[in-house]
């Protein structure tokens, strides 16, 4: 696999798992209907699966995050031998912005994974996961920009990824609820998730507009750079997911009340698949040179092949 593709892929898998963790925890605290008074096998099954999904997401985020850390370390240090890479890991962790913030995120994820089960600690787990997601700008283009523009980019990206986690990360829990819970409870969960989804869409769009306006490089950047082309692809995928969300809300959710779940289950699964595709496209987007940077390549003192590393 190309030395440029692997870090971007690991980044996408790590971020996707981290967003999934946040979405599951948000869903469990804010969307899942209250447990019935008596013993209920379906309710207990969904709760157990959500707990397992949270653990798997946190574990995958840790694993892929550590692999991403190592891949980036090897790239920026210019070494490939395992021993040499290992020697640079503490240097990168302690003395670079990327390494410090990614190490902090891995610690947060580990804490979520190790927190004892129990209702009292669920909000703490949610806050830790939200903090892990919110630091995403410091691992991307936004965190490198100095001054007020940097502040605007960091705020825009933090809102963007938190909302994306709440929406896309909650789709699999929603699918499980609709499939396992009684129709009335499934319908109730859909209605609550729909309200969360609308707030998430508004936040994603607001954050995305900020990032796009400052990084895309205008129409020329959108049309004539890899970054711009990926951004257009991501926007197209987002609109497709939005279309499915509208279909779910206005056509398929009402049918759940009458016991017809198959349509909604298929649609939510498709929406989740689009969400995964969006996260992967975003990972390559974060690894490519924004259209706004193209003008700088012609500056005096720049090499013609000024490289945009793919981390």
């Amino acid at each position: 696999m190309s030395g440029e593709v692997l870090p971007a892929l690991l980044r996408g898998l790590h971020v996707g798992a981290t967003l999934s963790l946040l979405g599951v925890l948000v869903y469990r605290q804010c969307i899942l209907p209250a447990a019935p008074a008596g013993p209920d096998a379906a309710d207990q099954s969904v709760r157990w699966q959500l707990a397992r999904l949270a653990s798997v997401s946190a574990g995958a985020a840790l694993l892929f995050g550590a692999a991403w850390f190592v891949a980036v370390t090897a790239d920026i240090a210019g070494v490939s031998q395992p021993g040499a890479v290992a020697g640079f890991v503490p240097v990168v962790a302690l003395h670079t912005q990327f390494g410090t913030w990614l190490a902090l995120r891995l610690v947060l994820l580990l804490l979520v994974l190790l927190l004892p089960a129990g209702p009292a600690l669920r909000w703490i787990a949610l806050l830790l996961a939200a903090a892990a997601v919110a630091e995403q700008p410091m691992l991307a283009h936004a965190g490198a920009e100095p001054g007020p523009r940097g502040g605007l980019l960091i705020a825009g990206e933090a809102v963007h990824v938190l909302a994306a986690g709440a929406w896309f990360g909650g789709l699999l829990p929603l699918w499980l609820s609709v499939r396992r819970l009684p129709a009335a409870s499934g319908w109730h969960a859909c209605r609550r998730f729909s309200r969360l989804g609308m707030a998430a869409v508004a936040s994603i769009v607001a954050g995305g507009v900020v990032l796009g306006a400052l990084l895309a490089g205008g129409v020329a950047g959108l049309l004539h750079s890899t970054y711009g082309n990926l951004l257009l692809l991501k926007t197209g995928l987002f609109l497709a997911a939005l279309g499915l969300a509208g279909l779910n809300r206005y056509r398929l959710t009402p049918a759940v009340q009458h016991g017809e779940r198959r349509g909604l289950l298929s649609s939510v699964a498709a929406e989740a698949a689009i969400g995964i595709a969006i996260v992967l496209v975003a990972a390559f987007l974060a690894s490519s040179m924004p259209g706004a940077d193209m003008q700088h390549r012609a500056h005096p003192g720049m090499s013609h092949g000024a490289q945009g590393g793919m981390q």
Partner: protein
């Protein structure tokens, strides 16, 4: 109710659009913004070289080489940073007249790599 503080989405959207419209495009890779001695300039022997980039860079994973008119790398001092990490500073030995080549490779804090080179000329009395 008089004095009620209500959220106005249209006004908020217009304000956000205006802020974005006046904000210059951001840079997401470290590009050379300014050099002292300047790119292609003729100067009296400088005591140091200052390279200012469009974003913050990681000094531990950046490199600046200054080559003499004969192409020999000059003994390099420690790479220091200034301006909140956006500027790299290299102390120079006493430079004889001639044209020097500066080659730089930097890693920005978001781990992207860029590189470039330029020349400046040392001429007494400039």
């Amino acid at each position: 109710m008089a004095g009620r503080n209500t959220f106005r989405p249209t006004r908020t959207a217009v304000c956000l659009a205006w802020m974005l419209a006046i904000a210059p495009a951001a840079s997401a890779h470290a590009f050379l913004e300014h050099a002292s001695p300047g790119v292609g300039s003729t100067v009296a022997a400088p005591a140091e070289l200052r390279l200012t980039f469009t974003e913050r860079v990681e000094p531990l994973f950046s490199r600046v080489t200054v080559r003499s008119p004969a192409g020999t790398p000059l003994p390099a001092g420690r790479l220091e940073t200034a301006r909140n990490g956006q500027q790299l500073v290299v102390k120079l030995p006493k430079l004889a007249p001639g044209t020097y080549t500066v080659q730089w490779h930097v890693t920005s804090v978001d781990t992207h790599k860029t590189q470039g080179s330029f020349r400046f000329t040392v001429q007494p009395g400039s």
